[in-house]
């Protein structure tokens, strides 16, 4: 029997965590608790997706960010001793999880990509060395904690008519209110093209020599019916493409039928965002590029030679 807590930040990530949670709990029995914001919006849905209990976090004063819940969650976890706590590997999740783990003096598997029971223990896999290797860890302390890479686990099939207990946690005790205040919030621009819905995604990487060469990638993408995305350096350092097209950790995660990385080396920060693709393909001139270790099909060759040939082949 295991008690599993899920911290709910976004709808998508919560569904995926519930998918993983149910898989884990079904093996050993136990219950799933979802911790969510005070408005409890969508909690009926969480019941259908497998939550046995909903915990509403106390309302936060204006200007406080979600991270302000850390002391409350930590206090509750210290008292109730859940066996497992899962958070999404979103930016917030990746800040909150280690801080919670530190307060609970426990181990945390960051950005986990696979989970399994082994004997009575949970083992998790994570990607290390920029995508070149997989590290498998087991936990020597409780609770077991992990942040889970987006699009790694599928949402469970909802069961109508399930219900979940509801309770609330007490507000922040005096002296535990953090000093961090939000003074401004800007929504990122939404683009007409939505990478997350695309069936085919072509990602441009550092292998591109100049901005103008994106035209080549665009032409190729249009022929395979795909949208163009990119790795972080292209959007955040070179500013060749808008931030919204940046794929990976702290960018968007995609789950298309086909992902093609063009001049993408395959760093973990990027590949985490495409792990869910049905087929991963790559074009890269370096045979040892980590992307080939994570791809189904790959052309080993210069993209400036390969793309024109691909374009010709596709036009036929």
């Amino acid at each position: 029997m295991a008690v599993l807590w899920i911290f709910s930040e976004t709808t998508t990530s919560t569904k995926e965590l519930l998918g993983l949670g149910r898989e884990l709990i079904s093996a050993v029995g136990g219950s799933i608790t979802v911790l969510m914001g005070p408005d409890g919006e969508g909690r009926e849905e969480w019941a259908a997706y497998g939550a046995d209990e909903i915990i509403l976090l106390p309302p936060l004063a204006d200007g406080l960010a979600m991270e302000a819940h850390i002391p409350v969650i930590a206090a509750a976890a210290a008292e109730e001793k859940p066996d497992i706590i899962l958070l999404p590997a979103t930016a917030r999740g990746r800040e909150m999880a280690p801080r919670l783990a530190q307060r609970l003096d426990t181990g945390l598997c960051s950005n986990c990509v696979a989970v399994r029971w082994s004997g009575g223990d949970i083992e998790m896999d994570r990607v290390v060395y920029g995508g070149a290797a997989i590290q498998t860890v087991k936990f020597l302390t409780r609770p077991v904690m992990a942040t889970v890479a987006p699009k790694t686990f599928s949402p469970p099939v909802p069961e109508e008519g399930r219900s979940a207990r509801l309770r609330e946690l007490p507000p922040l005790a005096a002296g535990t209110v953090p000093g961090v205040r939000i003074v401004e919030k800007r929504e990122k621009r939404r683009l007409a093209r939505d990478l997350t819905q695309a069936k085919v995604v072509v990602a441009a990487g550092r292998g591109l020599e100049k901005k103008e060469d994106l035209a080549l990638v665009e032409e190729f993408a249009s022929l395979v019916g795909g949208e163009v995305g990119c790795t972080r350096p292209l959007s955040e350092e070179l500013h060749w493409l808008p931030t919204e097209l940046c794929i990976g950790l702290s960018g968007v995660s995609v789950k298309p039928d086909l992902y093609i990385g063009v001049g993408v080396s395959g760093q973990v920060q990027h590949m985490t965002g495409v792990r869910g693709a049905k087929v991963i393909a790559a074009v890269n001139r370096d045979e040892n590029a980590p992307i080939f270790a994570q791809a189904d099909l790959g052309i080993v060759g210069d993209l400036y030679e390969a793309l024109p040939k691909l374009i010709t082949a596709l036009k036929k």
Binding site: R285, D286, E287, N288, V300, G301, D302
Partner: protein, 379 residues
Amino acid sequence: MDFKLTEEQELIKKNMREFCEKYVDPIAAEIDENSRHPAEVFQKLAEGDWMGIPIPAQYGGSGADYLTHICAVEELARSCASTGFTVSIHVGIASMLILLFGNEEQKKTFLVPLAKGEKLGAFVLTEPGAGTDVMAATTTAVLDGDHYVINGTKTFTSNGPTGDTYLVFAWTDKAAGRKGMSAFIVPRGTPGMTAGNHFAKMGLRSSQTSEMLFKDCRVPKANLLGKEGNGLAMAMTGFDHGRTGIAAQAVGIIQAALEESVRYAKERVQFGQPIARHQAIAWMIADMATDLNAARFLTYHAAWLKDQGQPFSKEASMAKLFASEKAMHHTIKAVQIQGGYGYCKGAKVERLMRDAKITEIYEGTSEAQRMVISGNVLR
């Protein structure tokens, strides 16, 4: 025995690699094509103290050892042989000679701006009729009051069109033979000194080479470097330092040839497998890697001897001879490995092959190196 670079040498070498990836690689093909001196890169090199590595801090340099400078030249040449060479001759010959033989005043006036990279140095020795046979030179410097008056024609002067501070060699007493030549520091703009024809070269194209013409060029007596009559000996000392730099340049070229070959051989598929799996190609690469190690050790050893204060003339010649001939040999192989692609403009190996040839020629041809080496061995 200790085959390890110091922590500082290793870090500096890595930083130079990063510098090259950021500033040199992106323009290397273009400056070769256009035969352009990349002033913007030299500005950055000056900012990073790369233009005077072995010159003591009190004279505007970094105060590191000669081996550190050699490592920097190697990394530069790995990206662009021309840029590596320009730094080599600027530091290894022009600056080093003023450091070794200049008086305090000359060091303050001329060495400091060279070491800081504000000025570019040039070495003006070769003449149309005097290549390896230095004694056949005809340029003269005649004392006239407080000035020497220089007349003559020099050729193949590297940094000729772009230099600021020229070390000019001329006879002050032709009859005295080997003890009759002197060296002068001549700043750019001195009346009577002009850069003549620029040479359009096969390789090393972004390095600027020209004739230097001297017509009643009056140089103050204060600009005589060292003693009158010591010119030839100083030139030879300059060559010891310079040749170690050319060896490093050749090592950089071999390194680049190896990298290009390995990359291509793994990518290029023929007969159903990457050509790296074909023994004919694999063996070429084995030889390249082996000679690269040997050339590098010879070069570092020459620089190390210099830093130990030991004679290194023979070792500098050996390093230069071996590294330059291996650079030529292996860049030809690198083009061979890439076949038709390697023969076309835009392939790095094509540029490497053209650049490699000069390393067997300047600062003493391979034949001249064999003269020095055999002279030492048969003594």
